[in-house]
Symmetry: C2
Subunit: 298 residues, 2 copies
């Protein structure tokens, strides 16, 4: 029972994998952390599950600021036979981490992944306007380098998890500009999940090129069945410019009679219809309170 995630340890992916394992009730008998295995690339994650190295794999699929994670969508569309068996969502929280004992007045250098600098621009401008910004390969690598050393002039931007893993001190929390910065992850496994009564189903389809209004027909079927969409995106088919694979998430389980009937109707209008799986809906709305209010340190 091990979940594969995009390493190194101390990344948001590891936090999400721990959240998933906790929700799935995977607590080791001795209270130890559930088994996670870090891999270095997205294709390695799916390969690990396909070959039995891991039970399931957690991949980021969309972020509320950056949008879709194309690499994950393309793996689902073109490469892996794995199904979506669960989802989790997590607010992106950045922490200012130092070697133990450092204070704000000591800091001369801030190191992190360049994307983290962009997401913490306001904090850096206000609180560390003179500090030099040095790029690192990942937020986890930045925290590891700073936390393990004794250079009090140096801080890293990263996760609370990385600070904990590598022994750093948290000098400031939630230094990101936008609180509504959330990432949704999907958990891929050989089979999707059984119905729970509060489920989602992820689909991808292409419409027959010669059927005018086929896309409209598909949306009409969903509307007639009263099925709400919770996501609507597109990716290129990679065949020709202007040809798309549409990816939608709908409410309900694929075995619900209304959903099953609508999928049958859609099949007539679609050149290809892939069902990526049905799985319990993650209560994203529960994160709103967490994101709207000042957050305590973990």
């Amino acid at each position: 029972m091990a979940t594969a995630f995009l390493g190194p340890r101390g990344t948001f992916s590891e936090e999400a994998a721990l959240l998933h394992a906790g929700r799935a009730g995977r607590v080791e008998a001795d209270g130890a952390e559930p088994a996670l295995i870090a891999f270095a690339s997205f294709p390695a994650l799916t390969a690990a599950v396909e070959t039995g190295l891991a039970t399931d794999a957690l991949l980021p699929i969309e972020n509320s600021i950056e949008g879709a994670v194309s690499a994950t969508l393309d793996l689902l569309i073109h490469e892996t036979p794995l199904k979506i068996a669960a989802e989790v969502a997590l607010p992106v929280r950045h922490f200012l981490v130092t070697a133990p004992g450092a204070t704000l007045a000591d800091l001369r250098i801030v190191t992190s992944h360049p994307q983290a600098f962009g997401q913490c621009r306001r904090f850096l401008e206000r609180c560390l306007p003179e500090a030099e910004q040095v790029a690192a390969l990942s937020t986890a690598a930045a925290v590891q380098a700073v936390a393990g050393g004794d250079d009090r002039a140096r801080a890293a931007i990263g996760t609370a998890r990385a600070a904990e893993l590598y022994g750093g001190s948290i000098l400031a929390h939630d230094i990101q500009d936008t609180r509504a910065n959330l990432t949704r992850f999907v958990v891929l496994a050989p089979e999707d999940a059984a119905p729970t009564g509060d489920d989602k189903t992820s689909l991808a389809f292409t419409v027959r090129a010669n059927v005018p209004g086929a896309l409209h027909a598909v949306f009409t079927y969903l509307a007639e069945a009263g099925i709400q969409m919770t996501k609507a995106e597109s990716r290129p088919t990679k065949g020709w410019l202007g040809e798309y694979v549409f990816l939608v998430d709908i409410e309900g389980h694929r075995t619900d009679p209304a959903v099953a009937r609508t999928l049958e109707r859609m099949r007539e209008k679609c050149a290809v219809l892939q069902v990526f799986g049905s799985y319990p809906r993650f209560p994203v709305e529960s994160l709103r309170e967490l994101v709207d209010r000042p957050m305590p340190l973990p």
Copy 2:
């Protein structure tokens, strides 16, 4: 009359800017090339037009393999008041460029942008299996470094335009794996274009959260008016996970009566409706022949 493009010179963006200037009839009196100005970032391109440094700016908006160019979509949605006044599309063609006089047997090192290595994987595996791959900041920079030197052991992957600009020799052409690798660019200007009878209109909208089936209603209005969509994408609103801005391209000019009437109907169902502009349709289908057949050297 100058077009701003994403530099340096010798990139696909410069090729597209030359194609646009030629189509717009901008040939200098002395036969010289039309005036182009290179900028280093997407926001610099729109700022150049907004402040009068350039007449218009050319930005990539989608690629048939990689998908949407999020940075351009987000500029249109959130930042610039500029309109789309034209579009051009271009096949991505890669060339193996050397210093004059080099032969295949001489080559030990190939340099280019890492994305170009990925797009030419099959050629490299077959024809240069022993060559070391060295990363460069852009295909143009790789070609400049190789073409200007006298190191016959070194080749670059880049555009024919870069080989011409920097004096390199083209040893092999169309070494990309996929021929249907096309990029579409939009031209942003203070005003969009007048009707020509063969136009497209680009829109972005969000639907009112409390109107069930609002997205379906929007597609119904388009279908009832017989208006075809040529693109359908989404971007996050950046407000909350699962809230999207939908971006669609439709056939017709915004001043066509059927289009104008449909836009009015859509406005009632949309929280926000942005019209990015109407402009002459680029004949993408004319590229199919170019892409399907062996291409002569330029």
